[in-house]
Protein backbone atom coordinates (compact mmCIF):
# COMPACT_ATOMS: atom_id res chain seq x y z
CA UNK A 1 0.00 0.00 0.00
CA UNK A 2 2.71 2.40 1.00
CA UNK A 3 4.59 1.40 -2.07
CA UNK A 4 1.57 2.19 -4.17
CA UNK A 5 1.35 5.68 -2.71
CA UNK A 6 5.02 6.47 -2.33
CA UNK A 7 6.23 4.77 -5.49
CA UNK A 8 3.87 6.67 -7.73
CA UNK A 9 3.55 9.84 -5.68
CA UNK A 10 3.64 12.02 -8.80
CA UNK A 11 0.34 10.54 -9.95
CA UNK A 12 -1.24 11.04 -6.58
CA UNK A 13 -0.21 14.66 -6.57
CA UNK A 14 -1.69 15.20 -10.00
CA UNK A 15 -4.92 13.51 -9.03
CA UNK A 16 -5.17 15.57 -5.86
CA UNK A 17 -4.53 18.79 -7.74
CA UNK A 18 -7.06 17.83 -10.36
CA UNK A 19 -9.71 17.21 -7.74
CA UNK A 20 -8.99 20.55 -6.08
CA UNK A 21 -9.39 22.29 -9.42
CA UNK A 22 -12.52 20.35 -10.24
CA UNK A 23 -14.01 21.19 -6.86
CA UNK A 24 -13.34 24.87 -7.38
CA UNK A 25 -14.98 24.80 -10.80
CA UNK A 26 -18.11 23.13 -9.54
CA UNK A 27 -18.58 24.41 -6.03
CA UNK A 28 -17.40 28.01 -6.19
CA UNK A 29 -19.97 30.61 -7.07
CA UNK A 30 -17.47 33.29 -8.02
CA UNK A 31 -16.70 33.22 -11.70
CA UNK A 32 -13.03 34.21 -11.22
CA UNK A 33 -12.54 31.42 -8.69
CA UNK A 34 -13.96 29.02 -11.24
CA UNK A 35 -11.34 30.17 -13.72
CA UNK A 36 -8.62 29.64 -11.10
CA UNK A 37 -10.06 26.17 -10.57
CA UNK A 38 -9.87 25.53 -14.30
CA UNK A 39 -6.23 26.59 -14.28
CA UNK A 40 -5.38 24.24 -11.42
CA UNK A 41 -7.24 21.49 -13.26
CA UNK A 42 -5.22 22.04 -16.41
CA UNK A 43 -1.93 22.38 -14.58
CA UNK A 44 -2.51 19.05 -12.93
CA UNK A 45 -2.67 17.44 -16.32
CA UNK A 46 0.50 19.22 -17.40
CA UNK A 47 2.20 17.79 -14.35
CA UNK A 48 0.98 14.35 -15.30
CA UNK A 49 2.54 14.64 -18.73
CA UNK A 50 5.84 15.99 -17.49
CA UNK A 51 6.25 13.44 -14.71
CA UNK A 52 5.46 10.72 -17.20
CA UNK A 53 8.48 11.71 -19.26
CA UNK A 54 11.02 11.55 -16.47
CA UNK A 55 13.19 8.55 -15.91
CA UNK A 56 15.37 8.10 -12.87
CA UNK A 57 18.77 9.70 -13.29
CA UNK A 58 17.99 11.12 -16.69
CA UNK A 59 19.15 14.44 -18.04
CA UNK A 60 17.75 16.99 -20.39
CA UNK A 61 17.58 15.63 -23.90
CA UNK A 62 20.30 17.78 -25.39
CA UNK A 63 22.63 16.16 -27.84
CA UNK A 64 26.23 17.10 -26.99
CA UNK A 65 29.18 16.58 -29.24
CA UNK A 66 31.42 13.64 -28.39
CA UNK A 67 34.28 16.05 -27.70
CA UNK A 68 32.66 16.96 -24.38
CA UNK A 69 33.43 13.56 -23.04
CA UNK A 70 31.19 11.25 -21.12
CA UNK A 71 27.81 12.62 -22.05
CA UNK A 72 26.98 10.71 -25.23
CA UNK A 73 23.68 9.16 -26.27
CA UNK A 74 25.12 5.75 -25.54
CA UNK A 75 25.94 6.42 -21.93
CA UNK A 76 23.26 8.82 -20.76
CA UNK A 77 19.51 8.34 -20.27
CA UNK A 78 17.51 11.27 -21.50
CA UNK A 79 14.09 12.28 -20.39
CA UNK A 80 11.53 11.86 -23.12
CA UNK A 81 11.29 15.26 -24.84
CA UNK A 82 8.00 14.72 -26.60
CA UNK A 83 5.65 15.24 -23.62
CA UNK A 84 7.43 18.51 -22.91
CA UNK A 85 6.73 19.66 -26.41
CA UNK A 86 3.14 18.59 -26.19
CA UNK A 87 2.72 20.42 -22.93
CA UNK A 88 4.22 23.57 -24.38
CA UNK A 89 1.36 23.47 -26.83
CA UNK A 90 -1.12 22.69 -24.07
CA UNK A 91 0.16 25.60 -21.98
CA UNK A 92 -0.43 27.95 -24.87
CA UNK A 93 -3.92 26.54 -25.21
CA UNK A 94 -4.44 26.92 -21.46
CA UNK A 95 -3.40 30.55 -21.57
CA UNK A 96 -5.79 31.22 -24.43
CA UNK A 97 -8.64 29.56 -22.58
CA UNK A 98 -7.89 31.64 -19.51
CA UNK A 99 -7.77 34.78 -21.61
CA UNK A 100 -11.14 34.09 -23.21
CA UNK A 101 -12.64 33.14 -19.86
CA UNK A 102 -11.40 36.33 -18.23
CA UNK A 103 -12.68 38.40 -21.13
CA UNK A 104 -16.08 36.81 -20.69
CA UNK A 105 -15.95 37.43 -16.95
CA UNK A 106 -15.26 41.10 -17.56
CA UNK A 107 -18.18 41.30 -19.96
CA UNK A 108 -20.42 39.54 -17.47
CA UNK A 109 -19.36 41.96 -14.76
CA UNK A 110 -20.14 44.92 -16.99
CA UNK A 111 -23.56 43.52 -17.86
CA UNK A 112 -24.71 42.29 -14.47
CA UNK A 113 -22.52 44.22 -12.03
CA UNK A 114 -21.58 41.04 -10.18
CA UNK A 115 -19.50 37.93 -10.62
CA UNK A 116 -21.65 35.76 -8.40
CA UNK A 117 -23.15 32.91 -10.33
CA UNK A 118 -26.21 32.62 -8.12
CA UNK A 119 -27.12 36.28 -8.39
CA UNK A 120 -26.65 36.26 -12.13
CA UNK A 121 -28.93 33.26 -12.48
CA UNK A 122 -31.54 35.07 -10.40
CA UNK A 123 -31.33 38.14 -12.61
CA UNK A 124 -31.69 35.99 -15.71
CA UNK A 125 -34.81 34.37 -14.32
CA UNK A 126 -36.19 37.75 -13.46
CA UNK A 127 -35.63 38.90 -17.02
CA UNK A 128 -37.64 36.10 -18.57
Amino acid sequence: MIELIAGKYNYWIYITLMMIGFYAMIAKGNLIKKIIGLNIFQTAVFLFYISMAVREGSTAPILLSRAHGALTPETVTYTNPLPHVLILTAIVVGVSVTAVALALAIKIYRTYGTLDEYRIAKMEQGAE
Binding site: L38, V93, S96, V97, V100, E124
Partner: protein, 495 residues
Protein backbone atom coordinates in the same frame (compact mmCIF):
# COMPACT_ATOMS: atom_id res chain seq x y z
CA UNK B 1 -0.86 21.25 -55.97
CA UNK B 2 -3.41 18.51 -55.81
CA UNK B 3 -0.94 16.51 -53.79
CA UNK B 4 -1.19 19.08 -51.02
CA UNK B 5 -4.97 19.24 -50.88
CA UNK B 6 -5.21 17.47 -47.52
CA UNK B 7 -3.22 20.17 -45.78
CA UNK B 8 -4.70 23.00 -47.83
CA UNK B 9 -8.19 22.14 -46.65
CA UNK B 10 -7.04 23.24 -43.18
CA UNK B 11 -4.56 25.94 -44.11
CA UNK B 12 -6.86 27.89 -46.38
CA UNK B 13 -9.41 28.70 -43.67
CA UNK B 14 -6.56 29.41 -41.23
CA UNK B 15 -4.94 31.96 -43.52
CA UNK B 16 -8.40 33.11 -44.53
CA UNK B 17 -9.06 33.99 -40.89
CA UNK B 18 -5.91 36.05 -40.67
CA UNK B 19 -6.59 37.67 -44.03
CA UNK B 20 -10.12 38.52 -42.96
CA UNK B 21 -8.82 40.20 -39.86
CA UNK B 22 -6.38 42.42 -41.71
CA UNK B 23 -8.54 43.15 -44.71
CA UNK B 24 -11.18 44.30 -42.27
CA UNK B 25 -8.92 47.21 -41.40
CA UNK B 26 -9.16 48.40 -44.99
CA UNK B 27 -12.76 47.57 -45.73
CA UNK B 28 -15.28 45.86 -43.50
CA UNK B 29 -17.43 44.48 -46.30
CA UNK B 30 -14.59 42.31 -47.54
CA UNK B 31 -14.80 40.04 -44.50
CA UNK B 32 -17.94 38.37 -45.77
CA UNK B 33 -16.63 37.90 -49.30
CA UNK B 34 -13.42 36.34 -48.02
CA UNK B 35 -15.33 34.02 -45.71
CA UNK B 36 -17.54 32.85 -48.57
CA UNK B 37 -14.60 32.39 -50.93
CA UNK B 38 -12.56 30.50 -48.34
CA UNK B 39 -15.34 28.15 -47.30
CA UNK B 40 -16.18 27.56 -50.93
CA UNK B 41 -12.60 26.61 -51.72
CA UNK B 42 -12.40 24.22 -48.76
CA UNK B 43 -15.69 22.69 -49.83
CA UNK B 44 -14.38 22.21 -53.37
CA UNK B 45 -11.17 20.67 -52.06
CA UNK B 46 -13.07 18.36 -49.71
CA UNK B 47 -15.23 17.23 -52.60
CA UNK B 48 -12.16 16.55 -54.67
CA UNK B 49 -10.59 14.60 -51.82
CA UNK B 50 -13.72 12.50 -51.44
CA UNK B 51 -13.66 11.70 -55.14
CA UNK B 52 -9.98 10.77 -54.97
CA UNK B 53 -10.71 8.45 -52.06
CA UNK B 54 -13.40 6.77 -54.13
CA UNK B 55 -10.94 6.00 -56.91
CA UNK B 56 -7.60 5.65 -55.14
CA UNK B 57 -8.47 4.62 -51.60
CA UNK B 58 -7.00 6.01 -48.40
CA UNK B 59 -4.89 9.14 -48.80
CA UNK B 60 -2.10 9.71 -46.30
CA UNK B 61 -0.37 13.08 -46.25
CA UNK B 62 2.87 13.54 -44.32
CA UNK B 63 3.12 16.97 -42.84
CA UNK B 64 6.54 18.44 -43.63
CA UNK B 65 7.53 15.21 -45.28
CA UNK B 66 8.11 13.41 -41.95
CA UNK B 67 6.99 9.84 -42.16
CA UNK B 68 4.49 8.65 -39.57
CA UNK B 69 4.57 7.61 -36.76
CA UNK B 70 7.18 10.34 -36.08
CA UNK B 71 5.64 13.02 -38.22
CA UNK B 72 2.05 14.22 -38.19
CA UNK B 73 -0.12 12.42 -40.68
CA UNK B 74 -3.29 13.71 -42.31
CA UNK B 75 -5.63 10.95 -43.38
CA UNK B 76 -8.49 11.04 -45.82
CA UNK B 77 -10.44 7.80 -45.94
CA UNK B 78 -14.08 6.90 -46.57
CA UNK B 79 -15.05 8.15 -43.14
CA UNK B 80 -13.14 11.41 -42.88
CA UNK B 81 -13.74 12.20 -46.56
CA UNK B 82 -17.49 11.96 -46.05
CA UNK B 83 -17.49 14.07 -42.90
CA UNK B 84 -15.17 16.65 -44.46
CA UNK B 85 -17.62 17.25 -47.27
CA UNK B 86 -20.54 17.52 -44.86
CA UNK B 87 -18.78 19.99 -42.59
CA UNK B 88 -17.31 22.15 -45.32
CA UNK B 89 -20.62 22.28 -47.15
CA UNK B 90 -22.51 23.37 -44.06
CA UNK B 91 -19.89 25.98 -43.28
CA UNK B 92 -20.22 27.39 -46.78
CA UNK B 93 -23.99 27.61 -46.46
CA UNK B 94 -23.82 29.34 -43.11
CA UNK B 95 -21.10 31.71 -44.32
CA UNK B 96 -23.39 32.86 -47.14
CA UNK B 97 -26.26 33.32 -44.72
CA UNK B 98 -24.18 35.15 -42.15
CA UNK B 99 -23.37 38.23 -44.26
CA UNK B 100 -26.63 40.18 -44.00
CA UNK B 101 -27.54 38.45 -40.75
CA UNK B 102 -24.44 39.62 -38.88
CA UNK B 103 -24.80 43.14 -40.20
CA UNK B 104 -28.23 43.53 -38.69
CA UNK B 105 -28.37 41.18 -35.72
CA UNK B 106 -24.83 41.47 -34.38
CA UNK B 107 -23.79 44.85 -35.67
CA UNK B 108 -21.62 45.98 -38.55
CA UNK B 109 -18.75 46.87 -36.20
CA UNK B 110 -18.32 43.22 -35.25
CA UNK B 111 -18.56 41.84 -38.77
CA UNK B 112 -14.80 41.43 -39.21
CA UNK B 113 -14.27 39.75 -35.87
CA UNK B 114 -17.21 37.48 -36.47
CA UNK B 115 -15.91 36.17 -39.77
CA UNK B 116 -12.33 35.85 -38.53
CA UNK B 117 -13.58 33.75 -35.61
CA UNK B 118 -15.89 31.82 -37.87
CA UNK B 119 -13.06 30.83 -40.17
CA UNK B 120 -10.92 29.84 -37.19
CA UNK B 121 -13.77 27.64 -36.02
CA UNK B 122 -13.94 26.00 -39.43
CA UNK B 123 -10.15 25.51 -39.37
CA UNK B 124 -10.43 23.67 -36.08
CA UNK B 125 -13.32 21.51 -37.24
CA UNK B 126 -11.78 20.50 -40.54
CA UNK B 127 -8.47 19.87 -38.80
CA UNK B 128 -10.09 17.57 -36.27
CA UNK B 129 -11.63 15.59 -39.07
CA UNK B 130 -8.62 15.20 -41.29
CA UNK B 131 -5.80 14.67 -38.83
CA UNK B 132 -4.46 11.18 -38.16
CA UNK B 133 -2.53 12.27 -35.11
CA UNK B 134 -4.31 12.08 -31.81
CA UNK B 135 -2.59 15.02 -30.13
CA UNK B 136 -3.38 17.09 -33.17
CA UNK B 137 -7.03 16.32 -32.53
CA UNK B 138 -6.70 18.01 -29.16
CA UNK B 139 -5.07 21.10 -30.65
CA UNK B 140 -7.72 21.51 -33.31
CA UNK B 141 -10.40 20.76 -30.75
CA UNK B 142 -9.23 23.70 -28.70
CA UNK B 143 -8.99 25.98 -31.73
CA UNK B 144 -12.57 25.13 -32.61
CA UNK B 145 -13.78 25.38 -29.03
CA UNK B 146 -12.19 28.73 -28.25
CA UNK B 147 -13.59 30.36 -31.35
CA UNK B 148 -16.90 28.67 -30.55
CA UNK B 149 -17.03 30.20 -27.05
CA UNK B 150 -16.27 33.62 -28.45
CA UNK B 151 -18.90 33.28 -31.18
CA UNK B 152 -21.60 32.39 -28.67
CA UNK B 153 -20.83 35.54 -26.72
CA UNK B 154 -20.76 37.78 -29.77
CA UNK B 155 -24.53 38.21 -29.97
CA UNK B 156 -26.68 40.96 -28.56
CA UNK B 157 -28.73 38.75 -26.25
CA UNK B 158 -27.97 39.48 -22.64
CA UNK B 159 -27.71 35.93 -21.36
CA UNK B 160 -25.36 34.89 -24.15
CA UNK B 161 -22.23 35.84 -22.25
CA UNK B 162 -23.17 33.70 -19.28
CA UNK B 163 -24.11 30.85 -21.60
CA UNK B 164 -20.76 31.21 -23.29
CA UNK B 165 -18.96 31.19 -19.93
CA UNK B 166 -20.67 27.99 -18.83
CA UNK B 167 -19.99 26.45 -22.21
CA UNK B 168 -16.34 27.38 -21.78
CA UNK B 169 -16.02 25.84 -18.32
CA UNK B 170 -17.66 22.54 -19.29
CA UNK B 171 -16.03 22.52 -22.71
CA UNK B 172 -12.60 22.95 -21.13
CA UNK B 173 -13.26 20.10 -18.73
CA UNK B 174 -14.14 17.98 -21.75
CA UNK B 175 -11.00 19.03 -23.58
CA UNK B 176 -8.82 18.31 -20.56
CA UNK B 177 -10.36 14.86 -20.29
CA UNK B 178 -9.47 14.25 -23.90
CA UNK B 179 -5.94 15.43 -23.14
CA UNK B 180 -5.77 13.00 -20.24
CA UNK B 181 -6.96 10.18 -22.46
CA UNK B 182 -4.23 10.99 -24.95
CA UNK B 183 -1.68 11.09 -22.13
CA UNK B 184 -2.66 7.66 -20.87
CA UNK B 185 -2.43 6.15 -24.32
CA UNK B 186 0.94 7.76 -24.91
CA UNK B 187 2.19 6.52 -21.56
CA UNK B 188 1.69 2.88 -22.49
CA UNK B 189 2.38 2.96 -26.21
CA UNK B 190 4.76 5.84 -26.77
CA UNK B 191 3.05 6.91 -29.96
CA UNK B 192 0.49 9.48 -31.00
CA UNK B 193 -0.27 8.34 -34.53
CA UNK B 194 -3.71 6.75 -34.76
CA UNK B 195 -2.78 4.00 -37.17
CA UNK B 196 0.28 3.17 -35.11
CA UNK B 197 -1.79 3.17 -31.92
CA UNK B 198 -4.21 0.72 -33.45
CA UNK B 199 -1.36 -1.71 -34.08
CA UNK B 200 0.19 -1.39 -30.68
CA UNK B 201 -2.92 -1.31 -28.51
CA UNK B 202 -4.36 -4.84 -28.87
CA UNK B 203 -1.63 -6.42 -26.77
CA UNK B 204 -2.31 -3.88 -24.02
CA UNK B 205 -6.08 -4.29 -23.91
CA UNK B 206 -5.91 -5.99 -20.54
CA UNK B 207 -4.18 -2.91 -19.10
CA UNK B 208 -6.21 -0.73 -16.84
CA UNK B 209 -4.49 2.37 -18.15
CA UNK B 210 -5.88 1.75 -21.63
CA UNK B 211 -9.33 1.27 -20.21
CA UNK B 212 -9.04 4.52 -18.27
CA UNK B 213 -7.93 6.31 -21.40
CA UNK B 214 -10.97 5.04 -23.24
CA UNK B 215 -13.31 6.24 -20.52
CA UNK B 216 -11.67 9.67 -20.57
CA UNK B 217 -12.26 9.87 -24.32
CA UNK B 218 -15.92 8.96 -24.02
CA UNK B 219 -16.58 11.48 -21.27
CA UNK B 220 -14.42 14.18 -22.84
CA UNK B 221 -15.96 14.02 -26.30
CA UNK B 222 -19.33 13.20 -24.76
CA UNK B 223 -19.27 16.54 -22.96
CA UNK B 224 -18.42 18.21 -26.23
CA UNK B 225 -21.20 16.67 -28.28
CA UNK B 226 -23.75 16.91 -25.47
CA UNK B 227 -24.17 13.23 -24.78
CA UNK B 228 -27.09 12.91 -22.40
CA UNK B 229 -26.75 13.64 -19.40
CA UNK B 230 -23.75 15.87 -20.16
CA UNK B 231 -25.89 18.18 -22.28
CA UNK B 232 -26.84 21.00 -19.91
CA UNK B 233 -24.49 23.57 -21.38
CA UNK B 234 -25.94 23.04 -24.84
CA UNK B 235 -29.37 24.39 -24.03
CA UNK B 236 -28.38 27.91 -23.15
CA UNK B 237 -25.40 28.06 -25.49
CA UNK B 238 -27.39 27.01 -28.55
CA UNK B 239 -30.49 28.95 -27.70
CA UNK B 240 -28.86 32.25 -26.75
CA UNK B 241 -26.15 32.38 -29.39
CA UNK B 242 -26.91 34.31 -32.60
CA UNK B 243 -28.83 32.02 -34.96
CA UNK B 244 -25.99 31.68 -37.45
CA UNK B 245 -23.73 30.55 -34.61
CA UNK B 246 -26.35 28.17 -33.22
CA UNK B 247 -26.57 26.69 -36.69
CA UNK B 248 -22.85 26.00 -36.99
CA UNK B 249 -22.68 24.72 -33.41
CA UNK B 250 -25.52 22.27 -33.92
CA UNK B 251 -24.75 21.29 -37.48
CA UNK B 252 -20.97 21.10 -37.42
CA UNK B 253 -19.41 21.37 -33.96
CA UNK B 254 -21.50 18.61 -32.39
CA UNK B 255 -20.97 16.40 -35.41
CA UNK B 256 -17.20 16.79 -35.46
CA UNK B 257 -16.92 15.89 -31.80
CA UNK B 258 -19.07 12.85 -32.43
CA UNK B 259 -16.83 12.05 -35.36
CA UNK B 260 -13.78 12.29 -33.12
CA UNK B 261 -15.28 9.84 -30.64
CA UNK B 262 -16.16 7.43 -33.44
CA UNK B 263 -12.62 7.76 -34.82
CA UNK B 264 -11.22 6.85 -31.43
CA UNK B 265 -13.70 4.05 -30.83
CA UNK B 266 -13.40 2.38 -34.20
CA UNK B 267 -10.00 3.20 -35.62
CA UNK B 268 -7.76 3.78 -32.59
CA UNK B 269 -9.41 1.04 -30.62
CA UNK B 270 -11.08 -1.84 -32.40
CA UNK B 271 -14.82 -2.46 -32.41
CA UNK B 272 -14.12 -5.81 -30.80
CA UNK B 273 -12.42 -4.15 -27.83
CA UNK B 274 -15.00 -1.40 -27.53
CA UNK B 275 -17.96 -3.72 -27.51
CA UNK B 276 -16.48 -6.55 -25.47
CA UNK B 277 -14.09 -5.09 -22.93
CA UNK B 278 -16.17 -2.07 -21.98
CA UNK B 279 -19.89 -2.06 -21.21
CA UNK B 280 -20.23 0.92 -23.52
CA UNK B 281 -22.97 -0.73 -25.55
CA UNK B 282 -25.14 -1.29 -22.49
CA UNK B 283 -24.56 2.26 -21.30
CA UNK B 284 -25.46 3.74 -24.68
CA UNK B 285 -28.52 1.51 -24.91
CA UNK B 286 -29.80 3.16 -21.76
CA UNK B 287 -28.63 6.68 -22.48
CA UNK B 288 -29.75 6.95 -26.10
CA UNK B 289 -33.46 6.09 -25.68
CA UNK B 290 -33.70 8.33 -22.63
CA UNK B 291 -32.06 11.16 -24.54
CA UNK B 292 -34.38 10.63 -27.49
CA UNK B 293 -37.58 10.50 -25.48
CA UNK B 294 -36.85 13.04 -22.76
CA UNK B 295 -35.60 15.62 -25.21
CA UNK B 296 -38.66 15.20 -27.40
CA UNK B 297 -40.94 15.73 -24.43
CA UNK B 298 -38.92 18.72 -23.28
CA UNK B 299 -38.93 20.18 -26.78
CA UNK B 300 -42.69 19.92 -26.70
CA UNK B 301 -42.79 22.05 -23.58
CA UNK B 302 -40.81 24.93 -25.09
CA UNK B 303 -42.25 27.95 -26.80
CA UNK B 304 -38.93 29.62 -27.51
CA UNK B 305 -38.07 28.29 -30.94
CA UNK B 306 -34.34 28.14 -30.37
CA UNK B 307 -34.66 26.36 -27.06
CA UNK B 308 -36.99 23.89 -28.72
CA UNK B 309 -34.45 23.25 -31.45
CA UNK B 310 -31.68 22.89 -28.87
CA UNK B 311 -33.63 20.21 -27.01
CA UNK B 312 -34.35 18.47 -30.28
CA UNK B 313 -30.60 18.35 -31.02
CA UNK B 314 -29.99 16.32 -27.88
CA UNK B 315 -32.49 13.74 -29.06
CA UNK B 316 -31.03 13.65 -32.54
CA UNK B 317 -27.59 13.04 -31.07
CA UNK B 318 -29.27 10.19 -29.21
CA UNK B 319 -30.25 8.63 -32.55
CA UNK B 320 -26.68 8.73 -33.75
CA UNK B 321 -25.40 7.24 -30.50
CA UNK B 322 -28.03 4.52 -30.72
CA UNK B 323 -26.78 3.59 -34.17
CA UNK B 324 -23.21 3.46 -32.88
CA UNK B 325 -24.24 1.20 -30.02
CA UNK B 326 -26.19 -1.18 -32.25
CA UNK B 327 -22.90 -1.80 -34.01
CA UNK B 328 -24.08 -3.45 -37.19
CA UNK B 329 -23.52 -2.20 -40.68
CA UNK B 330 -27.10 -1.11 -41.25
CA UNK B 331 -27.41 0.81 -38.01
CA UNK B 332 -24.02 2.48 -38.37
CA UNK B 333 -24.92 3.49 -41.91
CA UNK B 334 -28.05 4.99 -40.40
CA UNK B 335 -25.98 6.89 -37.85
CA UNK B 336 -23.66 8.28 -40.47
CA UNK B 337 -26.60 9.27 -42.66
CA UNK B 338 -28.13 10.96 -39.67
CA UNK B 339 -24.93 12.95 -39.18
CA UNK B 340 -25.49 14.41 -42.64
CA UNK B 341 -29.24 14.74 -42.30
CA UNK B 342 -29.18 16.31 -38.90
CA UNK B 343 -26.48 18.72 -40.03
CA UNK B 344 -28.72 19.82 -42.89
CA UNK B 345 -31.92 19.85 -40.86
CA UNK B 346 -30.78 21.49 -37.67
CA UNK B 347 -28.45 23.88 -39.45
CA UNK B 348 -31.29 24.89 -41.73
CA UNK B 349 -33.81 25.17 -38.92
CA UNK B 350 -31.60 27.44 -36.86
CA UNK B 351 -31.05 29.57 -39.94
CA UNK B 352 -34.80 29.67 -40.50
CA UNK B 353 -35.33 30.72 -36.92
CA UNK B 354 -32.76 33.42 -37.66
CA UNK B 355 -34.72 34.53 -40.70
CA UNK B 356 -37.98 34.78 -38.78
CA UNK B 357 -36.35 36.61 -35.88
CA UNK B 358 -34.60 38.89 -38.37
CA UNK B 359 -37.96 39.82 -39.86
CA UNK B 360 -40.25 39.85 -36.82
CA UNK B 361 -37.97 39.87 -33.77
CA UNK B 362 -40.17 37.19 -32.20
CA UNK B 363 -38.63 34.24 -30.43
CA UNK B 364 -41.78 32.52 -29.27
CA UNK B 365 -43.68 30.28 -31.62
CA UNK B 366 -46.96 31.37 -30.06
CA UNK B 367 -46.28 34.77 -31.63
CA UNK B 368 -45.89 33.29 -35.07
CA UNK B 369 -49.57 33.39 -35.97
CA UNK B 370 -50.33 33.97 -39.60
CA UNK B 371 -46.72 33.71 -40.65
CA UNK B 372 -47.86 31.65 -43.62
CA UNK B 373 -49.39 34.80 -45.02
CA UNK B 374 -46.67 37.30 -44.19
CA UNK B 375 -43.68 35.05 -44.96
CA UNK B 376 -45.05 32.38 -47.30
CA UNK B 377 -41.71 31.17 -48.67
CA UNK B 378 -40.12 30.90 -45.24
CA UNK B 379 -43.09 28.95 -43.93
CA UNK B 380 -43.06 26.61 -46.91
CA UNK B 381 -39.38 25.84 -46.41
CA UNK B 382 -39.99 25.44 -42.70
CA UNK B 383 -42.62 22.82 -43.51
CA UNK B 384 -40.10 20.85 -45.55
CA UNK B 385 -37.62 20.89 -42.69
CA UNK B 386 -40.35 19.90 -40.25
CA UNK B 387 -41.37 16.94 -42.40
CA UNK B 388 -37.79 15.80 -42.61
CA UNK B 389 -37.33 16.10 -38.84
CA UNK B 390 -40.41 13.94 -38.34
CA UNK B 391 -39.03 11.46 -40.82
CA UNK B 392 -41.76 11.54 -43.42
CA UNK B 393 -40.95 9.35 -46.44
CA UNK B 394 -39.29 11.07 -49.40
CA UNK B 395 -37.39 13.36 -47.08
CA UNK B 396 -33.85 12.64 -45.97
CA UNK B 397 -34.95 12.25 -42.35
CA UNK B 398 -36.88 9.13 -43.26
CA UNK B 399 -33.89 7.35 -44.72
CA UNK B 400 -31.69 7.53 -41.64
CA UNK B 401 -34.53 6.51 -39.36
CA UNK B 402 -35.34 3.62 -41.67
CA UNK B 403 -31.75 2.40 -41.44
CA UNK B 404 -31.68 2.77 -37.68
CA UNK B 405 -34.94 0.87 -37.31
CA UNK B 406 -33.89 -1.95 -39.62
CA UNK B 407 -30.53 -2.00 -37.86
CA UNK B 408 -32.28 -2.40 -34.51
CA UNK B 409 -34.35 -5.27 -35.88
CA UNK B 410 -31.25 -6.93 -37.32
CA UNK B 411 -29.60 -6.70 -33.92
CA UNK B 412 -32.70 -8.36 -32.46
CA UNK B 413 -33.52 -5.28 -30.43
CA UNK B 414 -37.01 -4.55 -31.63
CA UNK B 415 -37.80 -2.49 -28.53
CA UNK B 416 -35.95 0.48 -29.98
CA UNK B 417 -38.54 0.75 -32.73
CA UNK B 418 -41.23 2.13 -30.42
CA UNK B 419 -38.65 4.60 -29.12
CA UNK B 420 -37.92 5.86 -32.62
CA UNK B 421 -41.60 6.00 -33.51
CA UNK B 422 -42.77 7.70 -30.34
CA UNK B 423 -40.13 10.36 -30.69
CA UNK B 424 -41.07 10.82 -34.34
CA UNK B 425 -44.66 11.36 -33.27
CA UNK B 426 -43.64 13.84 -30.60
CA UNK B 427 -41.49 15.61 -33.17
CA UNK B 428 -44.50 15.72 -35.45
CA UNK B 429 -46.51 17.36 -32.69
CA UNK B 430 -44.00 20.06 -31.89
CA UNK B 431 -43.40 20.95 -35.48
CA UNK B 432 -47.04 20.76 -36.38
CA UNK B 433 -47.87 23.40 -33.78
CA UNK B 434 -45.72 25.87 -35.66
CA UNK B 435 -47.12 24.95 -39.04
CA UNK B 436 -50.66 25.24 -37.72
CA UNK B 437 -49.99 28.60 -36.10
CA UNK B 438 -48.44 29.79 -39.30
CA UNK B 439 -51.06 28.63 -41.73
CA UNK B 440 -54.34 28.29 -39.91
CA UNK B 441 -54.38 31.35 -37.69
CA UNK B 442 -54.74 34.96 -38.66
CA UNK B 443 -51.99 37.35 -37.55
CA UNK B 444 -52.76 38.98 -34.20
CA UNK B 445 -51.93 42.36 -35.52
CA UNK B 446 -53.46 43.07 -38.93
CA UNK B 447 -50.64 45.55 -39.53
CA UNK B 448 -48.26 42.60 -39.70
CA UNK B 449 -49.90 41.31 -42.82
CA UNK B 450 -48.98 44.49 -44.64
CA UNK B 451 -45.39 44.40 -43.47
CA UNK B 452 -43.47 43.21 -46.49
CA UNK B 453 -40.89 40.53 -46.00
CA UNK B 454 -37.48 42.18 -46.28
CA UNK B 455 -35.21 39.22 -45.71
CA UNK B 456 -32.34 39.36 -48.21
CA UNK B 457 -31.98 36.55 -50.72
CA UNK B 458 -28.48 35.83 -49.47
CA UNK B 459 -30.13 34.50 -46.31
CA UNK B 460 -32.88 32.56 -48.04
CA UNK B 461 -30.81 30.87 -50.74
CA UNK B 462 -28.63 28.68 -48.49
CA UNK B 463 -31.70 27.60 -46.58
CA UNK B 464 -33.46 26.71 -49.79
CA UNK B 465 -30.46 24.79 -51.11
CA UNK B 466 -30.40 22.75 -47.92
CA UNK B 467 -34.14 22.16 -48.09
CA UNK B 468 -33.72 21.00 -51.66
CA UNK B 469 -30.99 18.60 -50.56
CA UNK B 470 -33.26 17.21 -47.86
CA UNK B 471 -35.81 16.37 -50.53
CA UNK B 472 -33.21 15.24 -53.02
CA UNK B 473 -31.49 12.92 -50.55
CA UNK B 474 -34.90 11.63 -49.55
CA UNK B 475 -35.57 10.53 -53.10
CA UNK B 476 -32.08 9.75 -54.35
CA UNK B 477 -30.91 8.40 -51.03
CA UNK B 478 -28.52 5.98 -52.66
CA UNK B 479 -25.94 8.75 -53.06
CA UNK B 480 -25.26 9.50 -49.37
CA UNK B 481 -26.22 5.94 -48.52
CA UNK B 482 -23.38 4.58 -50.64
CA UNK B 483 -20.86 6.88 -49.00
CA UNK B 484 -22.13 6.21 -45.49
CA UNK B 485 -22.17 2.47 -46.04
CA UNK B 486 -18.57 2.47 -47.26
CA UNK B 487 -17.57 4.37 -44.14
CA UNK B 488 -19.57 2.02 -41.91
CA UNK B 489 -17.98 -1.05 -43.47
CA UNK B 490 -14.56 0.52 -43.02
CA UNK B 491 -15.22 1.34 -39.38
CA UNK B 492 -16.57 -2.08 -38.47
CA UNK B 493 -14.27 -4.04 -40.72
CA UNK B 494 -10.88 -5.52 -40.09
CA UNK B 495 -7.98 -3.00 -40.02
Amino acid sequence: MRLHFPVLVVLIPLFGAILTFFSGIIRRAWAWYIAMAVTFVSFAISLDLLISVQTAGRISYWLGGWAPPWGIEYVVDYFSGYILVVISFISLMIAIFAGPYVKKQIGPEREVNFFALYLLLITGLLGMVITGDIFNVYVFLEIASLSGYALVAVGKKKGAVVASYNYLILGSVGAVFVLLGIGHLYMVTGTLNMADLRERLPELYHSRVVLTAFVFFVIGFGLKFALFPLHTWLLSAHSLAPSAVSAILAAAVLKVNLYALMRVMFTVFTPAFVYEAVPIQEIFFVIAPIAILVSSVMALAQTNIKRMLAYSSIGQIGYIVLGIALANETALTGSLLHVLNHALMKGGLFLLAGVIIYQTDRYHITDWKGLGKTMPLTMLVFTIYGLSMVGVPLTAGFVSKWYLAIGALEAGRWYFIPVILVSSLLTAVYFWRIIEWGYFHEPDDPEDAKDRCHVPWAMMIPIMIMAFLLLFFGVAAFIPEGLARQAAIMLLGAP
